[in-house]
Amino acid sequence: MLKELAQEKWSGKINSINIGATKEEGGSRTSVVKIGGQATLPFIFNDGDIPHRPVIAAEVWDIAPNDWSSTLNSELEDVYSDPVSWSKKLIDEFKVDLICLKLQGAHPDLGDRTPTQEVKLVKDIISNVGVPLIVIGCGDDSKDNLILPACTEATKGEKCLFGSAVQDNYKTLVAACQADGHNIIAESPIDINIAKQLNILIHEMGFGLDKIVINPTVGALGYGLEYAYSIMERARLAALTGDKMVAQPFICFSGPEAWRAKEAKASIEEHPEWGKELERGVIWEVLTSATFLQSGADILVMRHPKAISTVKGYITKLMEIK
């Protein structure tokens, strides 16, 4: 009779990262989010320590999104115009752990908001909410290189998480985060080799490996989810067997990805056989997010309040197995 489950002995572990700094630590946050530190695969408590639970960040934009699905609009439309109320709503009512502010409106094609405007917004949020902050650029390299350093400077000491450093544009953001004491998101296109290469490049600039969070780029359910899963699994296995260059926590943008899927967005008129879009979109975001929890996500970036509540409950249940 087998008496015990076979145990894996891992030699490596994932780096621990603190996002946010309290007054005592030189910032102004009322809470600090701790992630990473795992010495085992996701939720395999038997093989090693899992010191922290995965966390959820709510995605908030600097401009009102005009292409989000009606399911999202029905919950959030009233706060779109005010990112501070948007953040507060999700913190107060749905208890998200962090706010992920996407500076989409800085994009030259989507409003071209200035560094001054974005700095003011970031400061507003910092002074009105207590949770730690993730700040994501607009995706236009040259514009991001203007707005992000301005924002890192404006939030110096708050230990935010800034993104995204990519292989062809990482130097400016790394230097800015280094100077202002922030953490950084290193984004790679579903490729473990590029993820590792980027970490090496960032580290070679003198940036600590323990301040990097990997965005492995994920796909929604039905859109390459299993591929993203296998890349994350490979990275985790490498990290747990001692490769320090991929031993970083993961951030997964499961919400934005899920809401890009037509199965999440399409109205019941378009596809009557798919059922009510109100439930369908939320289910899509929940399933996508839940899968990435199982792949090792440390931070999930999500959109819909109902999906956030459901996944939060799921995380609690998973952590109870312990």
């Binding site: 130097k171 590029i194 490049l201 070679e204």
Partner: protein, 633 residues
């Protein structure tokens, strides 16, 4: 159809063309070769010309900058003739076929070094000349003229199967009598038989020459050899003129399917070969009639195009060539201008993507005869890797691109006189020291120069491990160029050049891809045999990279595996050496057939691990640093 006159400058060459012809095709018909990596699809932006005067209809393209547009620049493949016009071809758009600039004496590495020694094979060239003094027929000796000839040959050589063509037989009776029964016969080894190729009056046996060729996708190398003494008379190298129709074999095969495409590609090869032959014989005062045979080693596609055989099926699943073992034919049938009755033979290939060039490489390095576990890495446009020893051989091909041959990179050139092949950079002030082949003023950078340069840029941290320039105030040589960031290797003022010699981020990217393709192919091949690099006893590195190759620096950039340096030898153009050996010895040629039959081909494109290995190798030296333990950058 309306005809117009197009004048090309600075050549001042005029061609008359149909309305609507592209400027690229006009240039080709004027005998001017323009760069065009994409084969005329308007994608690569390398075929820029300047419209000085006249009417040309050009399609909009992002490949021409505002400033260039003002100066009259257009893409020659995207511009059609609408009237008479004057067109200037700027130096950067030229394929570098000018005899003066590129077509210089081949250096040692381009010729290649034989590893196994020249005397290992029995001297039995593809064509042999024998001077015969036949006995005059009389009542007692009345055998026929032809039998008389055979009898005399049999006294000198053991040649059981003889054949003679009707043309020679027709001339025989008159020729023997008018030359007083003193003639020279040229015998050719032709597919297991011996053929009387040519009968000439008097003794010309001292003048027996052959040419060996390496026909590469990017480069054509030819060598004139004295078949009696085995001496190399001269070597010439030029770019393969087919480069106008695409940089890689796939683009060429696609081009061959166009109307007249096959004909055009075939001519581009034989024109280059005939030019080399003519220049070699003129320079060394050898008569065309004394050149009796030609032996070619080339990749499978090039051999198809040389013979004007449709290469279409090479790129269609299941990738089967029309012929890998080509019988010996008359050179004139393929359009090669040597003695009209001279022979043409090709070193046999293995598969569609591993050709006779690699068989020749194996032959010349002798890896098929040794106990030692050997790896042969041939760095060409199509990088080929062979692993094995006398008991087994396995090979793979990787599409590396022409960067190491000096093509597709801003200031690249062949490893000829004036090419920068050694570089060192001072880490304090980024000053550069260069050494050129022939110690003359620099004209460009060859393969080994690029390897040195990259290693130095990495060591001095001028670039990151991804190949992008760091901004460093001390480094005045890094600047924003027309094609992005670049590093100035040589300032034009220092040597009175037209342009600075630079390396751009795009060049580095090209070289990075080339080295990644080669390293990952080698690494997959070794893994496939459940070995690792440390188990290999010797590594031969072949290719026309330069007259020397710095192994340390090749390891720093991750081109070659990080193992003991003493195991490496750089053998230059091993394909040309193998071709010469097969030209000089039937024995060697037969060995090459054995090699081709014995070699197993591993198709990398169906190997799931290859892509992953390749992306991991797209970094300096490699994403997995533990595989390059001695590299400290």
């Amino acid at each position: 159809m309306e005809k117009f006159k197009i004048t090309f400058y600075p050549e001042n060459k005029v061609v008359e063309v149909d309305k609507g012809s592209t400027l690229l095709s006009c240039a080709i018909s004027a005998g001017i070769y323009i760069n065009s990596s994409c084969g005329g699809d308007g994608v690569c932006g390398r075929c820029k010309v300047i419209v000085k005067k006249g009417s040309v209809l050009t399609q909009p393209t992002g490949r021409i900058s505002q400033e260039e547009r003002k100066k009259g620049y257009v893409l020659s493949c995207m511009s059609t003739v609408q009237g008479d016009a004057d067109i200037e071809i700027p130096p950067e758009s030229r394929l570098g076929l000018d005899r003066i600039s590129v077509y210089t004496k081949a250096e040692e590495a381009e010729k290649g070094k034989s590893v196994i020694g020249e005397d290992i094979f029995i001297h039995s060239p593809l064509a042999t000349k024998l001077f015969l003094e036949l006995s005059v027929p009389n009542q007692a000796d009345r055998i026929s003229d032809l039998e008389r000839l055979y009898r005399e040959i049999g006294k000198i050589k053991e040649m059981p199967i003889m054949q003679t063509g009707l043309a020679n037989i027709r001339r025989l009776g008159e020729l023997l009598r008018s030359s007083d029964w003193k003639v020279t016969v040229t015998l050719g080894n032709r597919n297991g038989t011996t053929e009387v190729v040519l009968i000439e009056p008097r003794d010309t046996s001292a003048k027996n020459y052959g040419v060996a060729f390496d026909i590469g996708t990017t480069t054509l190398s030819g060598q004139l050899v004295d078949l009696n003494t085995k001496k190399v008379i001269g070597t010439k190298i030029t770019y393969n003129k087919q480069a106008t129709f695409g940089a890689d074999i796939i683009t060429r095969i696609i081009y061959a399917q166009k109307e007249d495409g096959l004909e055009v590609l075939h001519h581009a090869i034989i024109d280059g070969m005939n030019m080399i032959i003519k220049d070699l014989i003129d320079e060394h005062d050898v008569s065309l009639y004394a050149v009796n045979c030609c032996l070619c080693a080339g990749n499978t596609t090039m051999i198809h195009l040389l013979l004007r055989v449709d290469p279409t099926f090479i790129r269609r699943d299941p990738y089967v060539p029309t012929a890998s073992f080509v019988p010996v034919i008359r050179a004139a049938e393929a359009g090669i201008k040597i003695n009209p009755r001279g022979l043409l033979s090709c070193v046999p290939g293995v598969s569609s993507y591993v050709g006779g060039d690699i068989t020749a490489g194996v032959l010349s390095c002798g890896m098929n005869t040794t106990e030692k576990l050997t790896l042969l890495i041939d760095i060409g446009t199509n990088g080929e890797i062979v692993l094995g020893n006398k008991d087994w051989l396995i090979c793979a091909a990787a599409s590396a691109g022409p960067a190491f041959e000096g093509s597709g990179v801003t200031c690249g050139m062949r490893a000829v006189k004036g090419a920068i092949q050694r570089v060192s950079i001072n880490p304090k002030d980024f000053s550069v020291k260069c050494e050129t082949i022939g110690n003359v003023s620099p004209a460009g950078i060859c393969g080994s120069g690029y390897i040195d340069l990259l290693a130095e840029l990495l060591k001095t941290r001028a670039i990151d491990k991804n190949g992008k320039f760091h901004s460093d105030k001390k480094n005045k040589r890094v600047r924003q160029g027309e094609q992005g960031m670049e590093f100035v290797v040589v300032y034009k003022e220092d040597f009175d050049l037209n342009l600075d010699i630079v390396i751009t981020e795009a060049d580095i990217e090209n070289i990075k891809r080339a080295k990644a393709a080669i390293f990952s192919a080698a690494s997959i091949l070794v893994k496939h045999m459940e070995l690792d690099f440390s188990k290999i006893d010797q590594i031969f590195v072949a290719g026309g990279l330069g007259t020397y190759l710095d192994m340390d620096k090749s390891i720093i950039i991750g081109l070659l595996p990080d193992i003991e340096k003493s195991k490496f030898s750089f053998i230059g153009n091993s394909s040309l050496v193998g071709a010469r050996q097969a030209l000089l010895s039937l024995d060697a040629f037969n060995k090459s057939q054995e090699i081709a039959k014995k070699m197993t081909y591993l198709e990398l494109s169906v190997d799931a691990a290859y892509m992953d290995e390749y992306v991991a190798a797209l970094f300096f030296p490699h994403t997995d640093k533990t595989r390059f333990p001695t590299v400290k950058i």
